[in-house]
């Protein structure tokens, strides 16, 4: 397994598959995620991006930050475009028109994955196209100004479900994409986060090498819309793990493995503090929301551990 230094070398310099000069907000976690994932491929990678921050900030014509073949079509079809690329790859290879192996990576935000692109993802997984799907999850539609998505956590204030005099923000829990994906019985699905590069790198390697489709869901704190200082991205990602808000785990051929088990889980307030989307929860009278959140997180964590212990193949 490479060291951080070795990964860093692969993600910079002339051979890097994505280079600097893009227009991500300073401190945005997407850059580190995509760089790390791309570096984990030992074959050329073809990237299919959904509409969203990554696409918008890396390709404002006539510039591009991509040093690897890249394509964008619409918001909800990264998985089906990737399926078409894979079909073309198989056909052209069979007919002797191309040589060499490639990896195909579809990338979308949480909106492009949990919501509008969900059907395309499910179809592509069910058909078992050989590709990896990466969802960078910033828990909302960030490119368009922090609207609610199916990944937005309970209690978060967004521009479409703002906290207000009679609203506490999003009243529903986020959906568990990893388990839904696992229900497709694909060889590999994992949850990772931007702060743990080595874990992310390993998971990306496993995903690329899987015998079939693979999915990575990676937490990416958004400095602009969670509004924290741009130096704190990694800190927030770390807190998400230390509070069990975002467990690092993987499901390999149906078997659950929890990668990190915080010895002393921190209270959820530690993660919520300083983020504008949760500010209203700290107002007097709203304590019950945090209590409810804490309970849900602890229940989910206990459930995950039980799942792992059981050894049941999902």
């Amino acid at each position: 397994m490479p060291t951080l230094q070795e990964i860093a070398l692969k993600t910079s310099g002339a051979d890097a598959r994505i280079v600097s000069g893009h227009r991500m907000c300073s401190g945005c976690g997407i850059g580190s995620i995509i760089k790390t994932v791309l570096a984990a491929s030992d074959k050329p990678v073809i990237v299919i991006s959904a509409t969203g921050c990554l696409e918008v900030v890396t390709t404002i014509y006539p510039f591009t930050a991509w040093n690897t073949p890249w394509m964008h079509v619409t918001f909800e079809n990264a998985a089906s475009v990737a399926a078409g690329v894979e079909a073309a790859y198989k056909a052209l290879k069979r007919r002797g028109k191309i040589e060499g192996d490639v990896n195909i990576l579809a990338v979308a935000g949480d909106g492009g994955t949990y919501d509008i692109g969900f059907q395309a993802l499910s179809g592509a997984l069910e058909r078992r196209h050989k590709f990896m799907y990466l969802a960078y999850d910033n828990e909302g539609y960030m490119n368009t100004g922090n609207q609610r998505s199916g990944a937005t956590p309970f209690g978060a204030s967004t521009t479409t479900v703002p906290a207000g005099k009679i609203s506490l923000g999003k009243p529903q829990w986020r959906k568990n994409l990893v388990e839904i994906v696992a229900a497709h019985r694909i060889p590999y699905v994992a949850q990772a986060a931007v702060n743990n590069t080595i874990d992310l790198y390993k998971k990306a390697q496993k995903g690329f090498n899987a015998d079939g489709p693979a999915v990575l869901v990676v937490l990416q704190p958004c400095t602009s819309n969670w509004s924290f200082d741009s130096s704190l991205t990694i800190q927030y990602s770390k807190l998400a793990i230390e509070t069990n808000f975002w467990p690092l785990y993987e499901i390999e051929n149906g078997v659950v493995h929890v990668n990190t088990k915080p010895s002393n889980r921190k209270p959820i307030e530690d993660f919520l503090k300083g983020q504008s989307r949760f500010r209203h929860l700290f107002k007097p009278g709203n304590e019950h929301v945090i209590v409810e959140m804490q309970k849900m997180i602890d229940d989910e964590w206990a459930r995950l551990l039980k799942l792992e212990e059981s050894g049941i193949q999902l």
Binding site: P69, V85, A87
Partner: protein, 389 residues
């Protein structure tokens, strides 16, 4: 000389696809397009073709996967109808801007609501503004030949645009007719292979396709797209000449039938043109000088050629199988536009017929001719053929 087979319009499309043997076919079933996909799936299952077939979970994904495959460097084809086209609209609209020469068989069917599975042209007329080349086919034979032609027009380096080949749902798609299928080897040579020079799979030359283009460049992209569309005329003629060498037929932008000395001409797309020919024959037998113009290439629209063909016709009736609610019907609009530049313009009448698959009879078209010849026209209002009172 080819082999004559008794097949439907849908099978004719599938026969063309068999001979093209595309790298990738992506499709989702919808009546009346389904038999095309089913027929082609059999070819795949029996190893008659070695196409990679992707049976996707929706039409949106069908068009998306076709776009992915074509960008990767493959020759990709698909087929759909009505609701399917409506669902894939977003990607249909993106395809010409990406300059991808995808060929789609469109089996024309009425759009919901109310839901109806039968023929009209409301599906295709909803996409004529987005930049696909549109070719219409009167019968199964034309479906077959137009599909072969479409691949070459689409992929020509001057064009690089997607093409839809239209046929009437059920009337053409499900009716058995004798169709002459030309020699496999000759057709294979004619369609050739798609060049890989723009392929995303050319990993040595990384390209970024489909970037965000802001007001400083977007306009130029669209102007270039229009330029490519204008090249279709010459390419269509050249490719048509090449195809003639195999088929012995002509590939004009439109067909005229007894228009030379005509006092009244009817304009109608697809299968109803066959009905109109029978009406013309019946009227001619009574000594009435009437004729037909059947548009084939509808996008780009051959304004100048149409104007030339109709410049001496005193009265023209245009029959539309769809409406543009609150405005002139789509085919009528184009013909009015084409003829506007004439010094002496013909009288014109717009007719709507056949919505949701309502039959149109030769007698009804004869009645149209009688009306056109009588001069009792109403330029301000469209008239309806076969509508119950």
């Amino acid at each position: 000389m080819g082999v004559r087979k008794a097949i439907t319009g849908a099978q004719a499309a599938a026969e063309a696809m068999r001979q093209i043997n595309p790298d990738v076919v992506v499709a989702y079933p919808i009546t009346p397009q389904t038999p095309i996909v089913e027929e082609f799936a059999k070819y795949v299952a029996d190893g008659v073709v070695d196409t990679e077939m992707v049976p996707v979970e929706s039409e949106h994904s069908a068009m998306s996967a076709a776009v992915g495959a074509e960008t990767a460097g493959a020759r990709a084809m698909s087929a759909t109808s009505s609701q399917g086209l409506a669902l894939m609209w977003e990607v249909v609209a993106a395809t010409p801007g990406l300059r991808l020469p995808i060929v789609v068989s469109l089996v024309n069917r009425a759009l919901s609501a109310p839901i109806n599975i039968h023929c009209d042209h409301s599906d295709v007329m909803g996409v004529t503004t987005v930049g696909w080349v549109q070719i219409f086919s009167e019968n199964a034979q034309e479906v077959y030949e137009n599909t072969l032609l479409a691949v070459r027009v689409a992929e020509d380096s001057r064009v690089q645009l997607p093409v839809m080949v239209n046929q009437d749902g059920f009337i053409t798609s499900h009716a058995v007719e004798p169709v002459e299928i030309f020699d496999d080897a000759l057709v294979e040579k004619f369609v050739g292979v798609r060049s890989l020079d723009r392929a995303l799979l050319d990993v040595e030359h990384a390209k970024s396709v489909g970037p965000l283009v802001l007001p400083d460049h977007y306009f130029e992209f669209k102007r270039a797209q229009e330029e490519a569309m204008s090249k279709v005329f010459e390419v269509y003629r050249e490719v048509g000449t090449e195809l003639s060498a195999i088929t012995g037929k002509q590939y004009p932008f439109f067909e005229t039938y007894h228009t030379d000395d005509a006092e009244a001409v009817v304009v109608v797309l697809n299968s109803a043109a066959g009905t109109a020919k029978a009406a013309v024959d019946a009227m001619r037998a009574q000594g009435k000088r009437v004729g037909l113009l059947k548009p084939i290439l509808f996008r780009p629209f051959p304004y100048a050629e149409i104007r030339e063909a109709l410049k001496d016709i005193p009265v023209i009736g245009v029959l539309d199988r769809s409406m543009d609610f609150g405005a002139c019907a789509p085919v009528y609009s184009e013909f009015r536009n084409a003829l506007w530049a004439l010094g002496k313009r013909p009288a014109m009448q717009s007719y709507i017929y056949g919505l949701g698959g309502r039959d149109i009879m030769t007698t009804e078209i004869e009645a149209v001719f009688e009306e056109l010849l009588s001069g009792k026209l109403d330029a301000e209002h469209q008239r309806y053929i076969g509508l119950r009172g």
